[in-house]
């Protein structure tokens, strides 16, 4: 009987130990589920953090490779308290950059001001060049004060506006006068109509000009390099005058004129042209008379002939009178 009972117990299983097995299975399952969940969750969070680290590194790299170069900065004070800042900006980096603010510091007074450039979309693509020109108000600022300026990009980089004013330029300016002529940009114009210049403002960059009574005008790129940083205003007597060594005493004059952007010459009177310090302006000399406009030309009697071109400038520099003669160009007048 005992043997049968034992066999039956082993055959159909003893109830003893069942709960232990179930509990163990539960425990193992619980631990397995929880640890898997936690492992996966931690993995996800770590992946998120790693992604953030990568993004931050990328931002730092972008910030480091952003390369804006600001040169030829000028500070011009047209009136006390107003500082006109100009500078050439170039993006020498490999990513685009947004300029957000321009800071100007008057070091003499320890005063500063800031201008927001975001509204004007001052964005530079790689390789872009752009002229920055802004008027900033600094109470009490005068032209004799020392200024410095910097721009801030959206990535947080600060770029100083570098002033380039060599000793040679200032020395030359002191020697020959405050206005400089761009020799290589000297040009002449022909007429499309009686009062409109053809191919304005490009003209023809040459030192061979048509004569034989053909109406022409001259264009000169002038830069104000006044050491006192004053504005130069040219009056109606400013002109280009040609003298011909082959015909002594023969002079042809081309007086200064106002020209609209389409090349049309203002025929009623002349409005004085002002050139700010470090500013470069194309000035056109076209009129035979200073009082009213009439076309000028080199007469047939002087054609062909080599001639010396002189640039006679008159007006005011700051509050003082101004007069300068720039003699460095020669032309050959040919028969067209």
């Amino acid at each position: 009987m005992k043997r049968i009972s034992l066999r039956r117990k082993t055959r159909f299983g003893s109830s003893k130990g069942v709960s232990t097995v179930i509990a163990t299975v539960f425990l193992v399952l619980t631990v397995l589920v929880l640890s898997t969940n936690m492992f996966l969750w931690t993995l996800t969070q770590n992946a998120l953090y790693n992604q953030a680290v990568k993004e931050r590194n990328q931002q730092d790299v972008d910030r480091l490779i952003e390369n804006i170069i600001a040169t030829n900065a000028t500070y011009w004070v047209p009136s006390t308290g107003t500082v006109n800042v100009t500078a050439d900006l170039a993006n020498a980096g490999s990513i685009s950059a947004q300029i957000v603010t321009l800071w100007v510091l008057d070091a003499t007074q320890r005063k500063y001001n800031v201008t927001d450039l975001r509204a004007s979309n001052f964005n530079l693509n790689p390789g872009d060049h752009r002229l920055l020109s802004r008027a900033v108000q600094i109470p009490g600022a005068t032209s004799s004060n020392m200024f410095s300026a910097w721009i801030v990009t959206a990535r947080g980089n600060k770029v100083n506006l570098a002033t380039v004013q060599t000793v040679i330029v200032s020395d030359v300016t002191q020697g020959i006068g405050s206005m400089a002529l761009n020799f290589f940009a000297f040009r002449y114009f022909t007429y499309a109509t009686s009062t409109k210049l053809a191919n304005y403002p490009s003209g023809t960059t040459s030192f061979n000009v048509p004569g034989q009574g053909k109406p022409i005008a001259f264009g000169a790129l002038l830069t104000n390099l006044d050491p006192q940083k004053s504005t130069i205003t040219l009056n109606k007597y400013s002109n280009i005058w040609l003298i011909f060594p082959g015909a002594p005493g023969q002079i042809v004059q081309f007086f200064i004129v106002n020209v609209a952007s389409d090349g049309t010459i203002t025929t009623r009177g002349y409005t004085p042209i002002s050139i700010a310090y470090k500013a470069t302006t194309l000035i056109v000399f076209a009129s035979a008379s200073s009082s009213s406009f009439s076309q000028s030309s080199v007469p047939p009697s002087l054609t062909p002939n080599p001639g010396a071109v002189n640039l006679m400038l008159l007006g005011t520099i700051g509050t003082r009178d101004y007069g300068q003669n720039i003699p460095f160009v020669s032309v050959y007048v040919y028969k067209p």
């Binding site: 069942v18 709960s19 929880l34 969070q45």
Partner: protein, 189 residues
């Protein structure tokens, strides 16, 4: 006759004993408590084990979700802190008012950057704001939410008076954000 009689008696007795045995066996089967308690205890133990298993499972689940929530919050905070970047556009020391004005730009990749405190120091001396300074926009108006979003600019004034900084000497400002990031800039007093 005698033999027949004794055999009959024996048979009768045997049958009686057999019946008694059967009755005893049946009643034993019916009234045997030992087997019932064994089953009941097995059922109870199994039930308790399953119940405990579920309790442990739910407890573990709640613990792990707490942990996950905390871990997630910490990770989010760290990520936000990592994305924070403040640029000091200009630091100006007003010698008359004896105060430092710090112009800031949020050049990072996260919004809601608050200024918790500002340290002003040099190599031998240090000073810290006692409460978070007020953030103002560049136009001078108070920033309503007192934080800088991405690309937003603002400034804080730190009044050091009666402490006067030494003129033309280099000082540093350390800006501590609400998330715990630290940014430094220098200035000449």
């Amino acid at each position: 006759m005698r033999v027949e009689g004794s055999a009959a008696i024996f048979g009768k007795r045997y049958r009686g004993a057999l019946n008694k045995m059967r009755i005893r066996k049946i009643s034993k089967m019916i009234f045997n408590k030992k087997a019932v308690s064994l089953v009941a205890s097995a059922v109870i133990l199994t039930g308790v084990a399953i119940s405990l298993g579920f309790v442990v499972l739910f407890w573990g689940q709640s613990m792990s979700s707490d942990y996950a929530r905390n871990y997630g919050q910490i990770t989010d905070a760290e990520i936000a802190k990592l994305k924070e970047k403040l640029t000091a556009e200009y630091v100006f020391y007003n010698r008359t008012l004896q105060s430092v004005r710090i112009f800031l730009l949020n050049s990072g990749a996260v919004n809601d950057t608050e200024i918790q405190g500002v340290f002003v120091r040099n190599s031998t001396w240090s000073w810290v704001t006692s409460s978070p300074p007020s953030l103002k926009s560049f136009s001078g108006s108070l920033i309503s939410d007192q934080d800088l979003d991405i690309g937003e600019e603002g400034y804080v004034d730190v009044v050091l008076s009666p402490i006067a900084l030494t003129a033309d000497r280099l000082y540093f400002v350390r800006i501590v954000t609400g998330r715990g990031s630290i940014f430094e800039a220098d200035f000449i007093a």
